[in-house]
Point group: C2
Chain length 151, copies 2
DNA sequence: TTCCTTGCAAACGATTTGCATTGGA
DNA sequence: TCCAATGCAAATCGTTTGCAAGGAA
């Protein structure tokens, strides 16, 4: 997310939290800022590092829980089972993940809207056939990143 | 997986393990059988239950690790971060997952091969654009299952 | 004052591992 | 015989929580 977008997201978050009567404290702001700078979902440990240890892990987890509850961010789990957090889709935009099977890096990747429409339609049909009502989808692309391919 | 397919998978597993000089012990067979009967990936706790506690959890985890190492099964993590295991794609066939966001159930779902081809091509292109070489993909469809919609 | 937030330390739960025992080739 | 597999108990590690102190409204 570029600086302009990040600033915009910042404002959206402030508004969303205000509506939910949730305070936008320094720790929460630090987390939102770090996540808007990230190229993909981050683990609590990553965030802790990037914040220079200014937010202790237990507080960090609590902060993350509050922001998740407020739907400002989402949580998922990487191949190792470690939780990774990123800004919610309404802030970051719909996207998918490139996962390097060598180093484990997870990177956001956008997809052409026309193609997304195709995927969404397909997903809805597959779900309906199985008696589900589709609400969303997640597409992870496993592969090898350029760095790991070179090394 | 129907009984005929399960029997076939059973044989494939036996062969694969033999080639790798890995024994097909009773515990390993029980796990493979339970997984071929499952409608989706199971957590270690689920397996432990389905096996009537005959395989202690620590042994079960070791069994799962051996079978994963032998590429007989794969591990992933559900929304709660708990590991779930299922037979590898070369045994089960390529498929995707329907995830009920209410009860958390994960169910396998196959997709029309023509559509799979489309997805695979799209995935390869998206990956290439980002400097990745695509090796596979994973599509999870989030929704509400019929049971949870009715309740 | 009255909540909400914080930080430390202790608790938790899923998963892993050390070690002594068992069992198959 | 010998190495792999097992089962129990203890350890590990990411994550959560109890509790007392600090801060904002």
């Amino acid at each position: 997310m570029n600086p302009g977008q990040a600033e915009h997201a910042e404002h959206e978050v402030r508004t969303a939290l205000a509506q939910r009567r949730v305070r936008y404290t320094p720790a929460r702001r630090l987390v939102v800022e770090a996540l808007s700078r990230a190229a993909g979902p981050l683990a609590a440990g990553d965030l802790h590092e990037r914040l220079g240890g200014r937010v202790p892990l237990s507080s960090l987890y609590r902060t993350l829980a509050v922001l998740e509850e407020a739907q400002v961010l989402t949580r998922e789990h990487d191949a190792a089972g470690v939780a990774r957090y990123e800004l919610a889709e309404w802030l970051l935009g719909h996207h998918h993940h490139l996962v390097c099977s060598v180093c484990g890096e997870v990177r956001d990747v956008g997809v052409d809207p026309a193609v997304e429409t195709t995927i969404t339609r397909l997903v809805a049909r597959v779900a309906a056939d199985a008696g589900y009502r589709a609400a969303g989808h997640r597409l992870d692309i496993e592969g090898t990143c350029a760095a790991c391919r070179t090394a």
